[in-house]
Symmetry: C2
Subunit: 202 residues, 2 copies
Amino acid sequence: MKVETDTRSRILVTARELFHGRSYADVGIKEICESAKVQKGSFYHFFPSKQDLAMAVIDDMAEEWAHGFVAEAFDRNLPPMERLDYLIDAAYYWQKAAKDLEGRVPGCLFGNLALEVSTRDEVIRAKINAVFRKASESFREALSEAVELGAVAPLDAELTGEAMLAYLEGIILLAKSRNDPDVVRLLGPAIKTIRIEMKPGN
Amino acid sequence: MKVETDTRSRILVTARELFHGRSYADVGIKEICESAKVQKGSFYHFFPSKQDLAMAVIDDMAEEWAHGFVAEAFDRNLPPMERLDYLIDAAYYWQKAAKDLEGRVPGCLFGNLALEVSTRDEVIRAKINAVFRKASESFREALSEAVELGAVAPLDAELTGEAMLAYLEGIILLAKSRNDPDVVRLLGPAIKTIRIEMKPGN
């Protein structure tokens, strides 16, 4: 049982690193098996296809985030708008650490996969979309709380939350295209200026 | 000469459509030649490598934009902040038309390529970065003019322009991950709320 878990998690960690550092299409099962020191038969025992692997990588990373820096950023003990500062800081240090290590700003794995495979793989697209839905829900909660506390003037918390998530993905995209994590640090704080007003009648 | 131009431009148009609709890695030279009805020898006459082709596709599309909808959106005869409305509208109709035709929101080709190849191809990354630089410069100009006219309170026009470009790419990314062009229409107008203040002393 232990060996099974180890093998599966070694494949997951390896695939995540390779997909994130390069791209989904650029990394084949053969290379993943070699890097993870796993036989092909063993790979297919855990993952019948590359798509199954991608789904597990996304789940694994979303799970890790949900209990890691996203949980820390969206900690309900933090004042709601400070959660956004925390999130931007975390995104910056994430991209910076990766660049210090590999020489390249890797971007957000979810954003990378969304743009690479959404038109070609409906299953992976829907999975990433679900991750984004959950993320924008955390923004919405923080915003609703900020409005309740009077820290922010009333706004459409749902749409503004989605807009903030889009902005976060956008600044990470720009940082990757410049290979410069400082883009996240310089543009990030403006996330708090984004507002979508409530529709009249709501 | 005419035939040469036709062949080259047929390759370019085909490659752009295929890269945009799927991904860079997913489309091979063989498939491009077949779709464009061009012999491989002829392809290599124009483009020694797939990278050369990608560079030409980016140039071609950036050029078309610069004289097409970007030029229209950033028309100096429009009030500066209306240029942003125009740009968001254009981005929405672009994604909507593509979805109506192909069933899929394809995203922005520049953003797609930026996330797919930036860690692996320094030449293409730098080229896309130059396109983004030029785009954020158009935002900066519109913002500077808006400040001069008193339509917007003084702000850091350069950083705010970059932030607006990041937001535009971010909402297109989210639209692609949801396969829903309405994301651009609903979130787009908030681009005008983004602000980065001038550093004290500037």
